[in-house]
């Protein structure tokens, strides 16, 4: 098993990515923390089996994705909040930082509300993974991943408009 210093370094670099993916699957911050902790325990234990350190980012993204997908079944039982109408209000924000934060919150909420099959593709795409790698990570064909990505982007544009 790798040592704690190595894990600390990896967490420092990839913690933000793990949290972003986890927050696409869970709304409550405590549950997002629980998910992230599950991911890091798994990463720590799976790390000695990593053959190519260059692929560490996609390796962690894949583990996070898989833990989030299998986690959702427990969340389904507990979830009481309706998914529809959960997007924050589009009212004009006070300043630029607040506007940016509001836009980000709305993006996370929009990704969270995507159907599972689109959400998986969307989160990995937003983590800058190429379509080919997304297809491999999910076990689907590249063309299918492209179709899903196109649908996910359309759904996001429909809920958010163009953020640029």
């Amino acid at each position: 098993m790798s040592n704690i210093a190595e894990l600390e370094q990896i967490i420092e670099v990839h913690a933000a990515m793990v949290r972003r993916i986890a927050s696409a699957y869970e709304r409550h911050p405590d549950r997002v923390d629980d998910l992230a902790q599950d991911v890091w325990i798994a990463v720590w234990q799976a790390l000695p089996r990593l053959n190519d350190p260059a692929t560490l980012k996609s390796y962690i993204a894949r583990i996070t994705q898989n833990i989030c997908v299998t986690h959702i079944r427990r969340a389904l039982v507990r979830q009481t909040q309706p998914l529809t109408g959960a997007l924050p209000d589009r009212a004009p924000p006070i300043d630029e930082a607040a506007a940016h934060a509001a836009q980000l919150t709305r993006l996370i909420e929009a990704v969270r509300n995507l159907p599972d099959n689109l959400k998986a593709v969307a989160t990995l795409y937003l983590e800058e993974m190429p379509v080919k790698e997304i297809a491999v990570a999910l076990g689907i064909s590249e063309s299918n991943a492209s179709v899903r990505l196109h649908r996910a982007k359309s759904a996001l544009r429909l809920s958010l408009g163009d953020p640029s």
Binding site: S23, Q37, L138
Partner: protein, 201 residues
Amino acid sequence: MTSSPQPDPFVALWQTAPKPDTHHLAHDVQRLNQLHQRLNRSILAILCGIAVLLVFEEATGRLASHGILSVAWTLAVVIGVARHRRARCNRFEALTLDTVSLLKSMIARAQKDLFLARCLYAGVPCGAVLGALVMKLAIAGSTPSATAPHSRLQLIQTGAGIATLIIMIVTGLILARSRHLQVKELSEKLKLIEADLQPNV
């Protein structure tokens, strides 16, 4: 003239999410791992303690099973530990699979667990009734001195046996319910993904 491709605004926005506080995360992970290992060791110590107790009871002649019970118990513990270790390794290896393969392997594991849980809540009472019948038949065929009651000790043993049976049945029922739900939800998820894999989509 060449220009770099315009980055997707969604990706750019997504990447600006604030960085989480990871100050104690590595140590929390290490602590959780140690707690988990400690729990496993405690359970193993309890199981080994029961094995020693069985050996002692059989050696002193208080249990007339001639070593069969302690050997069976020790064998079950050894097999259980080996299977647990293998399942743990497989669980972490499975996390690096693709999502479709992971879902398939999880469904297969949940179905296996469901079968074991059903064996636990249905098989245990059947086994207990069968065991009681066999004991009755054995007692009927033995000499009167062997059937002499041991008063309180026998009562305690019977009570403990019944309590263990009830615990096993309840555990089996709870496990079966959760695994049934798991199989259902995972199958639905897999169906959704596979339906989307049709070429006309």
